[in-house]
Assembly symmetry: C2
Homo-oligomer: 333 residues x 2
């Protein structure tokens, strides 16, 4: 990507994608590569955001930024490539908290964001400025500039998300999830405007964890209604393959919440607005159980080509829905 | 140093040293090594402190901490040894300000301090906690917990100190220096208590820049009077050798302020409380011009042994003053 491409960022893109971190960012990268520059807007979950060490940290935004800038660490899935860890070592030496691992380059992002937020910029201003600086042609938009915080109820009581997710490594069994502040938060206006735009062709629900990555976005006032009323087809991609989550605690959380660990369950979470669904080729036998048009495809994104192929599949499904050509179920392998 | 030694930190030490950064820290290290553990209190200039990138930075405290913990970078004189620079590179990539070089390990100090200050701890609490954590037996005490900021009047108008010192590399000619906030700041109470203590044997004015490192301390209400009234001998070490400053802009500043660049001029700045003076062996010819007892010694501290030898010389001079044995001038080489 180049700075010239960043100038392509549009307020009314052809495709809007709702995304959390790693898995969502992989598909967002694929979409960004198969669409013309500037035609993708990614709405990022901010329910995972937290203040730590006095720094404002936005994990999903950063994973998207690093991924779309080609700066991401392919081994961890989070953070930056060619990272160093001197900050963390020195912080430990000083008696500071080290359970949330912050690489030296990553700290620069948090310091710069914290400084700019304190100076009165919004989270979306800061994010846009950084994506432009890094030459990212895709708009990355926080779901809201207001404070929403995911919390989980566990055997140990209600826990802040990063306490549960990182410090306790998802060990406590959860019985409920809430998005504190969501009811009073305003969805980002460019997100709602994009959903209303006649230019919009497709809304993609990325293969992120529905409970902690997508549903914070859906919990914002008016978002579910705006998606249901949006003229463009809404296509979700399953993060569950053959009864297992590709990454992270999705399957464990589903079991604890008493839900069947299945691509079907994921689709049900989006039933009120979903127009079509993409599940994995290993789950092709489930296609008949879905109430929306669906295709089975390779959803595991190992290579860059995998990301692009899945992105094209999703866009093709949307084209078919728009052309009313997709009325039943299809298997593409 | 060990954590056990840190337990020796005393509120009423035998020696108090007033210090700025590099040169002062060298003598402070020498003093800490020749005195029993816990018998040294270093009063650190905080006039150079500033907020940068949202971080609270205390350059002289940090140089003292790193030097006394053996973590200092011997090449630069500031910052940490074995430092990495990924933070700074990433910050530049994001469009952040990079004129003040912050190493990755050093950033941990600023993040931790900023977090603790924001949580309501005083600068001296934070500093004491960190020195104990690093096993430093010497007390490092900020001259005040209040905000004092050194500013210089230049051809370009009044400049904040780090803007002048680091960003502009002392290029503008200065015509005045002020310590904003000093008149309303309270000298740290343990500093004043130490000056009143019967245990106190010696006060050392380290070979720091008088104008920007020592005089901010002296500008605090009551400090000059407390020094003048203090029973223990007050001994200064010249930072000027043969008409040149060992390091930094001292000589340039003296010229611009219309002062003779000489060890004599330095002693005159402290005339109201000084009991004895140590200047460099190269300046032995100046001994007769001083109004206080003085010795000439090797003041250039290249090796660790140099630091210890100079520390012993200073303590010997103090002993002599206390025993009224030092009435004239002496040359020790």
């Amino acid at each position: 990507m180049t700075a010239t491409q960043a100038a392509h960022q549009k307020e009314t893109p052809r495709v809007v994608a709702l995304s959390g971190g790693v898995g969502g960012a992989k598909l967002a990268l694929g979409l960004s590569r198969v669409l013309p520059p500037g035609e993708l807007m990614v709405i990022a979950n901010t329910g995972d955001d937290f203040s730590h060490l006095g720094l404002e940290i936005s994990p999903d935004i950063d994973t998207l930024v690093y991924t779309l800038a080609g700066l991401n660490n392919p081994e961890t899935g989070w953070g930056r490539r060619s990272e160093t860890w001197t900050f963390m070592d020195a912080l430990g030496q000083l008696g500071g908290e080290t359970w949330f691992r912050l690489g030296d380059g990553d700290v620069a992002m948090h310091v710069e964001r914290t400084r700019r937020l304190a100076a009165g910029e919004t989270l979306s201003d800061v994010t846009q400025s950084i994506t432009r600086r890094l030459g990212i042609a895709t708009s990355i938009v926080p779901m809201t500039n207001d404070r929403v915080r995911t919390r989980v109820r566990t055997d140990d009581g209600w826990l802040e998300f990063q306490d549960y997710f990182v410090r306790r490594q998802c060990a406590p069994a959860i019985s409920a999830i809430e998005f504190t502040g969501a009811a009073d938060a305003q969805p980002h206006p460019v997100f709602l405007a994009a959903l209303r735009s006649e230019r919009l062709e497709t809304v993609v629900i990325c293969p992120s964890n529905p409970f902690i990555s997508v549903e914070p976005i859906l919990a914002l006032p008016g978002v579910r209604a705006a998606l249901a009323g949006c003229a463009a087809p809404k296509i979700a991609v399953s993060p569950v393959i053959a009864g297992k989550a590709v990454k992270g605690p999705t399957a464990k959380m589903m079991a604890e919440l008493g839900l069947e660990i299945s691509a079907i369950t994921i689709a049900q979470r989006y039933a009120d607005f979903l127009d079509a669904y993409v599940l994995d080729e290993q789950d092709a036998s489930l296609l008949g159980q879905l109430r929306v048009p669906a295709v089975a495809a390779k959803t595991l994104m190992t290579t860059l080509e995998d990301r692009e192929v899945l992105a094209r599949t999703v866009l093709d499904v949307a084209d078919s829905v728009r052309g009313s050509r997709l009325v039943g179920v299809t298997v593409t392998t």
